[in-house]
Subunit: 251 residues, 2 copies
DNA sequence: CGCCTCGTTGAGTTCAATCAAAACGGGTGG
DNA sequence: CCACCCGTTTTGATTGAACTCAACGAGGCG
């Protein structure tokens, strides 16, 4: 109908015998994801169930118990991070050959919501089962999975920060997050050393060094923080949280 | 000297007998990374070498052959994405208990540069060796590693886009990237369907729907693209690339 | 047909970048 | 110890880009 088709047509599967219609072999999955399995001994009998998702439906919701991850066979999704107060940040538009649900590994529940933008089809990859395979090295493998997942979650927060906060809110959020990280290491969360220059901080926050400096000065004047060079002390964490909540385009 | 110390002091290691000074056991590493290994059978003899990095030195450079990943034992780093034309984007400031180098797995070379912001210490995790463990399930494991790594690389690009491009550049970059993704799936890279609303696109790009719409209209007027609702055609990809190069604060 | 969401366009305003210059701080060498 | 230099930080004035508010047009669906 349209002059150009943009979906991997579901017919491909539908027209196959019914017995094969609802699953995918490991090699097919690897081909779909463009991952090379040469030299690896794989169980040829391993199959992955397919699942249809119609337009507007969510594959999983934020906060759902972590289960499988999903390889997209056809269609398009949007991945959305939902803020507490109802605002939302789109993190990406995964399409065929990409994977959904990876960010849930560490916390054991999905952190985002995946909504189909058109009728789509995904292969279900039972991640938990996968992770328990691999005998002696199994522990190490999970190790790394979690590290990677953690990193993903961190970057999602960063995208949220860059995508939906104004300049002062970004600086405020950064100060609070850095405090949390120091607290996690056993240090004070209200008094610490900024180890980076204003320029680096600006680059990280998507701001110029002047804007960063001005934000810090303003916070200092209003007694929210106390800052001298790289030495920083948070005086009113509550106010910082309020400033973060005053996002720019977030209602 | 300072009223509050913010570094995990290197003395902790230095003061131990020399034979133990330069390495870390698996359980210690897990503790450092705050990862639970309970119930997992681990090789207690497995150790990880420590490495010092002094302030200003790079642990690895962008483009280096991928080797180990690094767990930070003490200190602070900055992770920098270097653009072709010299501009740079800071992706994060990893500290103790976090991990460096994960984004290199998929492409087999590090995509970022990790510079120490203070004298620091890292544990070397020989990732390639790790990935080859795990017999029958080894293939699947690598499978997932790559997926995660890919995702990380994608989000780094997104952070670069949000952090250092102006509104029109963001839209232009998005259109080109989407074209590449469609090309990767075997479709036209110059003519495709936008499956998301302007609102979602705006959220993703850190812009309002109006700004997105205006950018598209402008591109349409100047014959760079042709757009009607969600139907899109790129007429002058070269010009789009130029627009992306005209970043806002980029060097 | 009427409703509703989505998209476009315009006018006015705000916020952060830019340009410019001065103050500061740490390090070096006289 | 002081003078100097460098990179960093701060502050000010101005500009411009993107947001906001508001209205209208177009398409989809019951």
């Amino acid at each position: 109908m349209r002059p150009h088709a943009n979906t991997l047509d579901a017919q491909v599967v539908l027209e196959q015998p019914a017995s094969r219609a609802a699953s995918l072999g490991l090699r097919e999955l690897a081909a779909l994801l463009k991952i090379d399995l040469d030299g690896v001994n794989v169980d040829p009998g391993m199959t992955f169930t397919l699942r249809r998702v119609q337009q507007g439906a969510a594959l999983y919701h934020a906060g759902d118990q972590f289960g499988p991850i999903y390889a997209i066979r056809s269609g398009t999704f949007k991945c959305v991070l939902l803020d507490a107060n109802g605002s939302y940040q789109v993190l990406g538009f995964p399409m065929a050959s990409e994977v959904l649900g990876l960010d849930g590994i560490e916390e054991q529940h999905y952190r985002t919501e995946a909504v189909a933008l058109e009728d789509s089809e995904v292969a279900i990859i039972p991640f938990p089962r996968l992770a328990h395979l691999g005998g002696r090295a199994g522990g190490l493998q999970q190790f790394v999975y979690r590290l990677l997942s953690r990193q993903l979650a961190r970057e999602h927060m960063q995208m949220w920060l860059l995508g939906s906060l104004g300049a002062e809110s970004r600086v405020a959020a950064f100060l609070l997050l850095l405090g949390e990280r120091y607290a996690h290491l056993g240090y004070s969360d209200t008094r610490y050393h900024l180890r980076m220059t204003r320029l680096d901080l600006g680059s990280f926050l998507g701001l110029t060094q002047e804007t960063v400096s001005r934000a810090l000065s303003r916070f200092h004047e209003t007694r929210v923080i106390q800052v001298h060079n790289k030495e920083l002390k948070i005086l009113d964490a509550e106010r910082l949280h309020q400033i973060v909540a005053n996002a720019r385009h977030s209602g």
